[in-house]
Symmetry: C3
Subunit: 312 residues, 3 copies
């Protein structure tokens, strides 16, 4: 990655990855996001901090939840939102992504929220934009999904503030999960007590990623404070000879029996959308330990904080 | 249908069906809609009653007019609108509709406007939402399209307020028309004088639906005050051996000759989009008795009234 | 064309074509657009002149940049914007475009921004709308793209105000380019000194279009003040035996060597999206003489001016 997402003074210019982002910056972002979390039953805060600014959503992969979350975050700060379905339009004419950014820049777009399957693309786009506009990574191949990592950290911290005492288990197809990668980046920087990465052997993370490896989920969840289940990509399971979906829940899903091995006050997380009955049992997904809806709500708050910090 | 759309105090929580909705409630909705009808040539009223509220449009069937009508209605009350094209995004990942609603709820969506081909789905979604958000049925299989029924009732009432003296003829593929079903629900509750249902034999409504049956359109329109033509679904015509489109206009379309059998001041309605030259002759569609454009304008007013009543 | 875009008093009712638009009207539009050009580094001006008005974007051809430009223009004047993807919705039901317009009119749409492949369609739509709403041509087959012509004229004028002394070269597939046609209409009405149309023989404009013809690009750019390169449509090149893309740059693209034949202060324009390395060399597209980004920024300003003049 050539583009620093922070300028020499430490100011955040783009949000590309949580990897390498200093602990102070994470704390600042999370603290700001806290101010955008509505107390239960109350309406989400809104202001006009970004009135007159324009945010363009460029999603090259289909998305309901992340696109909606960014759209609401931008609008709740008073910004204009342009939703561009690139696959249906300019690529039909072979326009390059850089030329699209350049064109939208000239129209006065201030921030680009980009989801794309290609690892490394976002850093290239940020290099291109420089100080002219902000690039926010809304999902990058298998490597980064920084606003997801932030909302996961926020959700954990709101339930269990003493991070250095926590055991956090992330379980699923770690190797191919941008959610896992960004969560690991956030949690290691924030100094979580013990980080466990649990996956079927073929899907364990490679060696750069910190954390203790487990191939047995029972062992991985024992006495954990936080269990974050990942979404299974069914296409990948076939390719890598992971057991089929009907067997998966017993082998590597979060069942009530398995959850009982964790601490009694453990929280259960999932980035959604869930494959119910595959990586997570219905009764766990809907049970009292699940904080999955809070993750979604925190996602809007985190994205408001990121947009505000980058554009204000 | 398990979910009552009204709570025990009579307050409207969801709008699923006009069937079973008390006459008082219909009158209240129509009276409120009247306040949103612009006098001819004037701009539609707008206010900020729903500022800070978010309405999500979830259309699982393609729609231009109904989606646009709901979008304008919500915005003219100051609400935010999220347009979600579900078929292109989350279902590509197999996310269930309930999980989509749950996610959007967590982001602060206050009302869901849903169109779907499955009969019964909307009641299930409303059950799931309970008091957390409002569900508005924007088209459900062949059984309900309540805002269309309301706009039809409003249009009739504005032209001919003495409903109990009217003869209203609904003609077309009654059996498979959610428009017809919702119109019948509204008009019987409001106490229309005589309700006539006219269809080729194979497309007549089954017995639960009140109204006098006709298979001869000439007889059905004789001395009618209101003639509501339905859109022909060409696919269904073939399947049920209804005459082909070239013959249809003569057999079962509204021609000027046929319209002459009705009362001279009869109004002609159509929910759109019209198959001109099939169920309705061009000269009738564009003639002085047609109130089809008013139906569209009234549709926005009715949807404003519904949104306001559910969210305020 | 049957519909006059100006009413008998000269007031602009629709924007269909720059052909036949009086010089005064062009000057008025360009002067108004100037007021919406932000000084470099400043945010685009915005106001609430069109608050309460609704603009519907009906794009029957895919478009990122033009659709976004119109959307931002309308919103920066305070108007509501409805984006309607017609191909996905009403045409699936066979609804005619006129019935779609009629329906949206009844909902209170004030202006329709329409892009379509059919030459002549826009005049027909404007005839239908009459004084009820404005029709803005956002791209029509191969014949008109008037807001592009205006932004090109604005861009030239801002760099070189003495139009009557300029030599302007338009180069590419002139015959099939609506961009070229609208630019020629604008520049001839505004009285440009010399207009040169350069194309491979098969793609030269037919005789109605004023301007001097060139089939040799070197000759066409010699001593030019302005060079406007057109986008190559690769499909058409094959059909008309124009050289393939790898050879095209040398034969008919703007290389640095060719640009050196023009005046040293010549500006280089392109409507985008560019085929880099085909009709324009990268170093020219990104070089100091290119004003391509300004064209994009001016496009928003021009569309604000057009919307304001038509709706105010």
């Amino acid at each position: 990655m050539t583009q620093s997402q922070q300028d020499p003074t430490g100011r955040l210019r783009h949000l590309l990855s949580l990897q390498g982002l200093p602990r102070d910056m994470l704390h600042t972002l999370l603290a700001r996001a806290e101010t955008y979390c509505a107390p239960a039953g109350q309406r989400a805060p809104r202001n006009t901090q970004l009135a007159g600014r324009t945010v363009a959503n460029l999603f090259f992969e289909p998305s309901t939840r992340t696109r909606a979350s960014f759209e609401l975050a931008a609008r709740r700060l008073g910004a204009e939102v342009l939703n561009l379905d690139i696959s249906l339009s300019s690529t039909a004419k072979g326009e390059s992504i850089l030329d699209t950014l350049d064109t939208l820049l000239a129209m006065g777009v201030d921030a680009f929220v980009v989801r794309h399957t290609d690892d490394g693309l976002h850093a290239m786009l940020a290099d291109f934009l420089g100080h002219r506009a902000a690039l926010i990574n809304a999902g990058e191949g298998i490597s980064n999904h920084p606003t997801q990592g932030l909302l996961d950290a926020l959700t954990i911290r709101r339930h269990k503030p003493a991070l250095e005492q926590l055991t956090v288990t992330i379980a699923g197809d770690i190797r191919h999960s941008r959610v896992a990668h960004s969560a690991v980046h956030a949690l290691t920087t924030l100094g979580v007590g013990e980080l466990r990465l649990a996956a079927p052997a073929a899907a364990l993370a490679d060696d750069h990623l910190p954390g203790n490896r487990f191939t047995d989920l029972d062992q991985a969840v024992r006495d954990a404070d936080v269990i974050m289940m990942l979404r299974i990509q069914k296409e990948r399971m076939a390719a890598e000879q992971v057991p089929d979906t009907t067997q998966y829940l017993q082998h590597f899903g979060l069942t009530p029996e398995r959850l009982a091995l964790a601490r009694p006050d453990a929280i259960v997380m999932h980035p959604g959308p869930m494959n119910r009955g595959v990586e997570i049992a219905d009764s766990v997904a809907d049970g009292p330990q699940a904080v999955i809806r809070e993750q979604v709500a925190n996602g809007v708050a985190v994205r408001m904080a990121v947009l505000e910090m980058l554009l204000d």
